[in-house]
């Protein structure tokens, strides 16, 4: 993780943000990196498989975004590889020049040192050495993983030792000569806004932890060790970077001979070589120690990024999102040589064509975009698969950290335009090219994986009926179908709807979805049962799907078919203390992007004449009122009940008048009742004795509080002995935000 980003970043950042800005850049970037590392840690602990961001996006958002994640990861790692090769070359040649070995080259071309011609020559040699270094490590990666691992371990130890030495020297220097603290004045010479640009520019120096996610298949006890490795690496690296930034600032004594201006200005004037000049002044044999540190850290990072880029493009090839060539494995070496060759092309082209500063900025911006996507994935996956995946780490204050990280990453990416406008051309061009390739090539060729939902049988609605209000009815078995049809009939009639019957077949993980025929029989019978009753009255379509999780399968079908209302049954029996209504219904209520109606004991030929609707002013009250009106017999009466606990006032009459007018209902069949009590649950339960149906809205408590126990509507639904309907209305983004934050 300690790579060239820090060596390139120090000199450029101190010139841009000043001495204080430099230390702050690395301290705050460390915090930001930790936020994203927490997302990576949580996802890697839940999905400990090779593939990293590509895998997470595939599970969280499906093929399109996952292709984009893999595409960005490939490019980001390749560009970072080019940057490390350039840094290695830059600092090695600087050392060679210092010890006078470049003079031979100057005399060979008949040019004098420190002239524009000499600078051009050095630039050319830097590019050649960078290309040679990149080629060497491409070959090492081609040789295979065992060689890669051994070399990686040696150079990681070496680089950490050297960089820590620089930091320790900085501390001892200040203890010996505290006047060097004067170098921190002025603290932020160009203002605080420059901090954003330097944070964006040096963000790439913290990116290494995402490579750990690539090792999901190979790690020992990955659910425990992957998150630990990621978080420890960010902690250690941040402390080292802050130490090294501090050492850079105090390395030069103000007023020394040949130091023009303030020390920070002098260091900054050397640009990407500024760190080298600082370390040379800080410690004896500084040039030599620095060169060793750069050799170790750049080559280690170069090795890791080529590995990461190759695996990312290989995964795209393996899933046929890129041509088959990307998935080619060498017969002898067993390494993905196709993906490695394509990665090599990007590394070499970028290292040769772009200036070092723009290469670093391009790498940073690509990683910012990539991590932005991963932070979205962690929110999405926790939300949609919290009951399916086993987690080895769960981040605190969810989803605060990923949201904070997303906001900061957007801000830094925008500010990066102040460092390199070329990066802001290269990155979008690469992303749009990726989108184009996905639309024209990958979309039609991608392989379906075993994790996806399999559609077995589908009868779509007739074209002329497609515009009608779509109601989906989830059927489990013939008994359950019989309890749902009558209520569905009333709802479909009132809404002039078409009905979609769905049966999800849950298939255990050990069995392939394609071999799951044996689980289909009860579902087919349920569909036939429901069709017998409903087909005569409403346009009907049916679908049977196999899936790993019923809840996820239903939610996915709702999204796909743009369903407006879902009807499902609930047995009403006690479930584990983990769920309010059950492991299937809870996620459906939480995540369905449509209205949901859950029926308990509403089957048979029950007619409802006296309906009770407990109301407390929540967002689902209006929909509860509407459903109660639909299900009540024409001559029946509906009682709206609210319990006044004295905590807050709710005007039930005003609410009823407003809703009656809005929904166009008859006012006469509604009556209101306000009861004063400190025990709302007991009061409502006692009021249900004369009702023949209870309709109530689901809880509106934020999810984060729900872990503390069941909420009142769910307790009421469980204890109520009468037929009960629980409803949830969909208010789009507004309800999503309210429920989550």
């Amino acid at each position: 993780m300690i790579g060239a980003g820090v060596f390139l970043g120090m000199g450029i950042s101190i010139g841009k943000a000043g001495p204080g800005g430099l230390v702050l850049t690395f301290a705050l970037n460390g915090l930001l990196a930790l936020l994203t590392a927490m997302s990576f840690a949580e996802l890697s602990s839940a999905i400990p498989r090779a593939g990293g961001a590509y895998n997470f996006a595939r599970i969280g958002f499906g093929r399109g975004p996952s292709f984009l994640a893999g595409w960005m990861e490939w490019f980001a790692s390749s560009v970072a590889g080019a940057m490390y090769a350039l840094t290695f070359s830059l600092y090695t040649l600087r050392f060679i020049e210092r010890i006078g070995w470049m003079n031979g080259l100057y005399s060979l071309f008949h040019i004098t040192q420190s002239t524009p011609q000499a600078d051009h020559l050095v630039e050319g040699v830097i590019k050649i050495v960078a290309v040679a270094t990149a080629l060497l490590f491409i070959y090492i990666n081609f040789r295979g993983a065992s060689e890669t691992g051994k070399i990686g371990a040696i150079i990681t130890m070496g680089q950490t030792l050297f960089v820590v030495t620089i930091g320790i020297f900085g501390i001892f220097t200040v203890l010996r000569d505290p006047s060097r603290l004067h170098n921190f004045t002025p603290f932020m010479p160009y203002g605080w806004s420059q901090l954003m640009a330097t944070m964006g520019f040096t963000y790439v120096a913290f990116e290494g932890y995402e490579v750990i996610a690539q090792a999901g298949d190979e790690a020992i006890e990955p659910r425990k060790n992957l998150p630990k490795a990621m978080l420890y690496s960010v902690l250690i690296v941040t402390i080292i970077y802050v130490l090294v930034a501090f050492a850079t600032v105090i390395s030069v004594k103000a007023g020394s001979s040949d130091v023009e201006g303030a020390p920070w200005e002098w260091i900054g004037s050397f640009g990407e070589k500024g760190f080298g000049e600082a370390v040379a002044r800080l410690m004896p044999y500084g040039n030599f120690i620095l060169t060793l540190a750069v050799i170790f850290s750049s080559t280690s990072a170069l090795n890791a990024t080529i590995y990461s880029a190759t695996r990312a493009s290989y995964a795209l090839g393996r899933d046929r999102m890129l041509p088959k060539f990307f998935a080619s494995i060498h017969k002898v070496r067993k390494t993905p040589f196709g993906a490695l060759l394509c990665t090599a092309v990007i590394v070499l082209v970028v290292a040769t064509m772009l200036p070092t500063k723009d290469v670093a900025s391009s790498a940073s911006i690509m990683f910012l975009f990539l991590f932005f996507l991963v932070n979205l994935c962690v929110i999405r996956i926790r939300r949609s698969m919290a009951d399916e995946l086993n987690y080895g780490f769960i981040m605190p204050l969810f989803p605060l950290f990923p949201i904070l990280a997303i906001l900061c990453q957007v801000l830094l990416a925008v500010w990066l335009v102040h460092m390199s406008w070329i990066a802001w051309i290269v990155a979008p061009v690469w992303i749009f090219t990726g989108i184009l390739i996905y639309q024209l090539y990958s979309k039609s060729r991608a392989i379906t994986t075993a994790d996806e939902i399999l559609v077995i049988e589908e009868r779509p609605p007739a074209m002329q009926e497609a515009e009608r209000y779509p109601i989906m009815v989830a059927l489990a078995n013939p008994e359950n179908a019989a309890t749902l049809v009558r209520t569905t009939y009333r709802l479909a009639e009132a809404k002039k709807a078409r009905v979609e019957l769905i049966h999800m077949v849950s298939v255990p993980d050990q069995i392939s979805l394609h071999d799951a025929e044996r689980y289909i029989k009860p579902g087919k019978e349920a569909l036939v049962e429901a069709m017998l009753y409903l087909k005569m009255h409403f346009p009907l379509s049916t679908t049977i799907r196999y899936c790993r999780s019923i809840a996820r399968g239903i939610i996915s079908a709702i999204r796909e078919k743009k369903t407006r209302m879902l009807v499902l049954g609930w047995h009403g029996r006690p479930t584990t203390h983990l769920f309010n209504l059950g492991s299937t219904i809870d996620p459906i209520i939480e995540q369905s992007p449509c209205n949901v109606v859950v029926l308990k004991d509403c089957g048979g030929n029950k007619a409802f004449h006296n309906v009770l609707v407990p109301i407390a002013g929540g967002p689902h009250g209006a929909f509860a009122l509407e459903v109660a009106d639909i299900l009540t017999e024409p001559e029946g009466k509906i009682t709206l009940l609210t319990v006044d606990t004295g905590d807050r006032k709710f005007d039930l009459e005003a609410f009823l008048d407003a809703q009656v007018e809005r929904l166009g209902l008859g006012r006469n069949r509604f009556t209101t009742k306000v009861v004063q009590s400190k025990a709302p649950l007991r009061t409502i339960l006692s009021e249900t004795w004369e009702a023949d149906l209870v309709v109530l809205g689901t809880t509106n408590r934020p999810l984060i509080l729900e872990v503390t126990g069941q909420s009142l509507p769910e307790k009421l639904a469980r204890r109520c002995g009468k037929p009960t309907v629980i409803v949830k209305s969909d208010a789009g983004v507004r309800s999503w935000i309210k429920r989550w934050i």
């Binding site: 000569d177 919290a386 080895g392």
Partner: protein
């Protein structure tokens, strides 16, 4: 008094090093607070995460909902 003079005072007499804080400008004080705060946050969050990882590993790997309920009941 220039910044250089201030630092000379600090350097010359260890007993009055605390004066350094008084002599710092607003940017420097804010910067020091930010660096200290972010390093403290990083260390605290990492230690907290380590504890959580060990706790989950000891109780067995379960779903997010089960794990959160487990944490809550432990309290």
């Amino acid at each position: 008094m220039t910044s250089l003079d201030k630092s000379k005072i600090v350097a010359s007499d260890p007993r009055i090093r605390y004066i350094a804080l008084v002599l710092m400008d607003t940017d420097q004080i804010l910067g020091c607070i930010l660096v200290a705060a972010s390093l403290t946050a990083i260390v605290t969050l990492t230690l907290w995460a380590r504890r959580t990882i060990h706790r989950i590993a000891a109780n067995g790997y379960r779903t997010a909902r089960q794990t959160l309920k487990g944490f809550n009941s432990d309290k």
